[in-house]
């Protein structure tokens, strides 16, 4: 007689292995919880990264039909729709570590200015947490992953006692600081999750500046090396590759009891049982999964009786202004690669000194691309041709500075991700559509953002490249999607409580950027990590207490 073994029931199934999923898996396994981690792709091998391939070697390789690792998911494989005239550029990485393989590494703490924004101006719902609630977790994250930067502390950008040494600013960045200071605008050392000295067993940055291709030594935080690998060492983690999750399954009481997924390549369907499900597939994919998880108990998607899931999508507004610093024209050319991207940051200041504002919330500014770069697209805008043009390009080359302001976008009900039941993917699962537009508040803010750029550059007496005032990036380009499964105290207005636990389904947690109540002007990854650490601490505690 053959004895049939019951399917295993996992303590926790985590969907997604990026910042949020990696953190949940690491923090739960080290607290004794057995975790199955479902990853929609495979591990990216660092030894295959093209980190140290020079631009001319890069094109030579492409000519030979050789290709770098493909981090980003193709829309041929997973299409989505947008309404005519309203594009959204969505960047998705399906694979171990997700977008943290190639992220911008800007690691800014939210402040109470961000958490209390809705309380002060009445737009949207208040966050259920304050800075004091998350500060201990920011401290832990800073210590664990390694963040370099200054120790300064502002009401809009809380400081940290745990910073690694900041990299020295480049010449152009110093000159921007100098000019901004004359306008009483503070530009501080950036906060970047790059190791400027060896940290927790990870090697330090070697200043090649090619972080966007993936770091071949793992000298900046990525969830695969920093979280998933140590989680394996607990003996309590399993990772299943190529598992594209379609739905969360529920029992008769509407509680989650498993997950349905498909093999990315073979399309084989599989279901696993779980006591608890942590959704951390990044904002848009998590929302896709939640909205597709329809059942008798949850006809509008799991945990979505409030109809907030999918809505209030936020993505910061952003644009770019380039200029040349006169002091650096025709000067020596240095290796300005540094830690890749900017070494400085302009914190939000528009709320201070009684400054008049015609809009709500605020903006900060980043400065990647200052100095001698590996591309000179700006040179196309210089006049003429021939020897004079060639000389002129050489003269300008070391003097480039780049200004990239980021502004908060207000959460709006009509900015949303919706499931289109009429269109399905290769697995027969309905696809989503993104309906998103920025509004008057963002246009007014962008206008002031342009003014700030102009003030700094005018003070610096910089030669400014032509730009079209009012232009902003296509939505999605900041790769900071938030808000579609927001947390809050009121279950009628929010899907999650302060621990990323669903109000309506207590054994489902959603821990990525979708849980954010507002987007702020800041890059979200540090806050995603801190929230996921805090929420998974809570989850482990609730499991231990037998409450879940």
């Amino acid at each position: 007689m053959q004895v049939k073994t019951a399917d295993p029931v996992y303590d926790v199934v985590v969907i997604g292995s990026g910042a949020a999923g990696g953190m949940a898996a690491w923090n739960l396994t080290r607290q004794g919880v057995n975790v199955l981690l479902l990853d929609a792709g495979e591990k990216f091998s660092r030894s295959k990264f093209w980190t140290h391939v020079k631009p001319w070697q890069w094109t030579d390789r492409l000519d030979r039909n050789q290709h770098p690792p493909q981090f980003f998911l193709s829309t041929d494989e997973q299409p989505f729709e947008t309404p005519p005239g309203h594009p959204f550029h969505l960047y998705r990485v399906w694979g171990r570590g997700g977008k943290t393989n190639v992220w911008g590494r800007v690691a800014l703490r939210y402040s109470d200015l961000d958490f209390e924004g809705p309380l002060h101006d009445g737009w949207g719902i208040p966050w259920p947490i304050r800075y004091r609630d998350i500060e201990p977790y920011y401290d832990k994250v800073d210590q664990f992953i390694g963040v370099c930067g200054g120790t300064d502390n502002q009401d809009s950008l809380p400081g940290s006692k745990y910073m690694l040494p900041p990299p020295a600013p480049r010449c152009g960045e110093r000159l921007l600081q100098k000019a901004a200071q004359k306008r009483n605008i503070s530009i501080v050392s950036g906060r970047r999750a790059v190791l400027t000295k060896p940290h927790n067993g990870h090697p330090k940055c070697h200043f090649c500046g090619a972080c966007g291709r993936g770091c071949d030594v793992g000298a900046f935080f990525n969830a695969s090396d920093y979280l998933v690998e140590p989680a394996f060492q607990t003996g309590r983690l399993q990772v299943m590759d190529n598992a594209v999750v379609a739905r969360i399954l529920v029992d008769d009481n509407g509680l989650a009891n498993g997950v349905q997924f498909f093999h990315r390549k073979t399309r084989e369907e599989r279901r696993v049982k779980a006591r608890i499900v942590v959704v951390a597939a990044s904002c848009v994919d998590s929302t896709r999964i939640l909205l597709n998880s329809k059942s008798q108990a949850h006809p509008n998607g799991i945990g979505n009786g409030s109809d907030v899931i999918g809505r209030y999508l936020c993505e910061q507004i952003r644009f770019h202004v380039y200029a040349f610093m006169p002091e650096l024209m025709n000067g020596p050319v240095y290796d300005d690669s540094g830690i890749g991207g900017e070494h400085i940051y302009m914190p939000r200041f528009n709320h201070r000194d009684g400054r008049p504002r015609k809009y709500l919330r605020g903006y900060g500014m980043q400065f990647w691309g200052c100095g001698a770069q590996d591309a000179v697209a700006w040179a196309k805008t210089l006049p003429g041709f021939g020897e004079e043009l060639k000389k002129n390009i050489r003269r300008h080359y070391p003097a480039l500075v780049a200004l990239h302001p980021y502004g908060e976008t207000l959460g709006r009900k009509e900015n949303r991700i919706v499931i289109d039941e009429s269109r399905t993917d290769a697995y027969g699962v309905p696809l989503f559509r993104i309906e998103y537009q920025i509004g008057e508040n963002e246009h007014l803010m962008a206008d002031e953002m342009y003014t700030t750029c102009e003030e700094i550059l005018k003070t610096a007496k910089a030669e400014v490249l032509p730009y079209q005032r009012g232009w902003v990036d296509t939505p999605g380009e900041a790769i900071h999607e938030h808000g579609t499964c927001r947390m809050g105290d009121d279950p009628k207005e929010s899907a999650l409580n302060q621990f990323c636990q669903m109000h309506e389904v207590k054994n489902v947690f959603v821990m990525d950027g979708s849980a954010f109540t507002t987007a702020s002007e800041k890059n979200p990854t540090l806050t995603i990590l801190a929230l996921a650490w805090r929420s998974s601490d809570y989850l482990a505690g609730e499991m231990k207490r037998g409450n879940i």
Binding site: A6, V9, D11, N27, R30, G32, V33, N34, S45, R46, S47, T51, H52, V53, K54, W56, D60, D63, R64, N65, Q66, F144, G150, A168, P169, R170, C171, K178, I187, S189, N200, G201, H202, P203, F207, C208, G209, A210, E229, F232, T234, G235, R236, L237, Q238, V239, H263, T266, E268, V333, K380, F385, G386, E387, K390, I393, R394, P398, A540, K544
Partner: protein
């Protein structure tokens, strides 16, 4: 191909948390809290992969690239090469034609066939303008004439041909400064190099005037 599963084969977890792993949980919590307080990761968890320096990386040259023009041929291709060289000429460093930019432009138009009419019209204009200067075509014209024709286009005096000029100028710049000759030799690019330290700006005259303030950078 089925699902690859990595990691531990742990006991059926339906029993594990409350029973078998209660002790594990306590141990785990103790270890975890220590780790959290001290901010330590598990030592040596970095998978052993060698750091590959740029000079150690070798392009696999077992397959030869095909770099023959596919769209423009004969005098048309030579005319494109001549225009490229007029835009970024050979000086103390090589010019655009020296480093293969004409083929890159051919490749670009091959990838974007919608550009072909613009380039064909541009070539016709160049030859027609040269004829007005009394030469058979653009290639036959003396350099002074070629420069005069391009100057009109560059200054916007040739109607729609300004678009052609801007396009070929843009591609020439893009591809010339993507080569080792253009980027490293002409401009002096030194990046994407393994370095043990980053020095940054060493010019006090570039720095903010009040050092030590929060916004002066460098740890405030």
């Amino acid at each position: 191909m089925s699902f690859n599963v990595y990691g531990s084969s742990f006991p059926n977890p339906i029993y594990s948390f409350e029973m078998a792993t209660r002790r594990d949980t306590l141990i785990g919590l103790a270890a975890g809290s220590a780790s959290a307080v001290l901010g330590r990761a598990t030592p040596q968890h970095q998978p052993a992969e060698p750091h590959v320096h740029d000079d150690a990386i070798k392009t696999d040259k077992s397959t030869e690239p095909r770099r023959t023009p596919q769209v423009f041929h004969g005098r048309d291709y030579e005319t494109i090469a001549a225009v490229c060289e007029l835009i970024i000429p050979r000086t103390d460093t090589p010019g655009a034609a020296d480093v293969g930019v004409p083929w890159r432009i051919d490749q670009a138009v091959q990838r974007k066939p919608e550009w072909k009419p613009l380039y064909e019209a541009g070539l016709r204009y160049l030859n027609s303008a040269a004829k007005e200067h009394g030469t058979a075509d653009f290639l036959s014209a003396p350099k002074q004439t070629q420069v005069a024709i391009l100057t009109v286009m560059s200054d916007g005096g040739a109607g729609e041909q300004h678009d052609f000029f801007q396009s070929i100028k843009g591609l020439t710049i893009e591809w010339y400064y993507n080569t080792e000759e253009g980027l490293a030799h002409e401009l002096g690019f030194k990046g994407n190099t393994y370095r043990t330290d980053f020095i940054g700006c060493t010019h006090p005259e570039h720095w903010p005037e009040v050092k030590g303030e929060a916004h002066a950078g460098q740890n405030g």
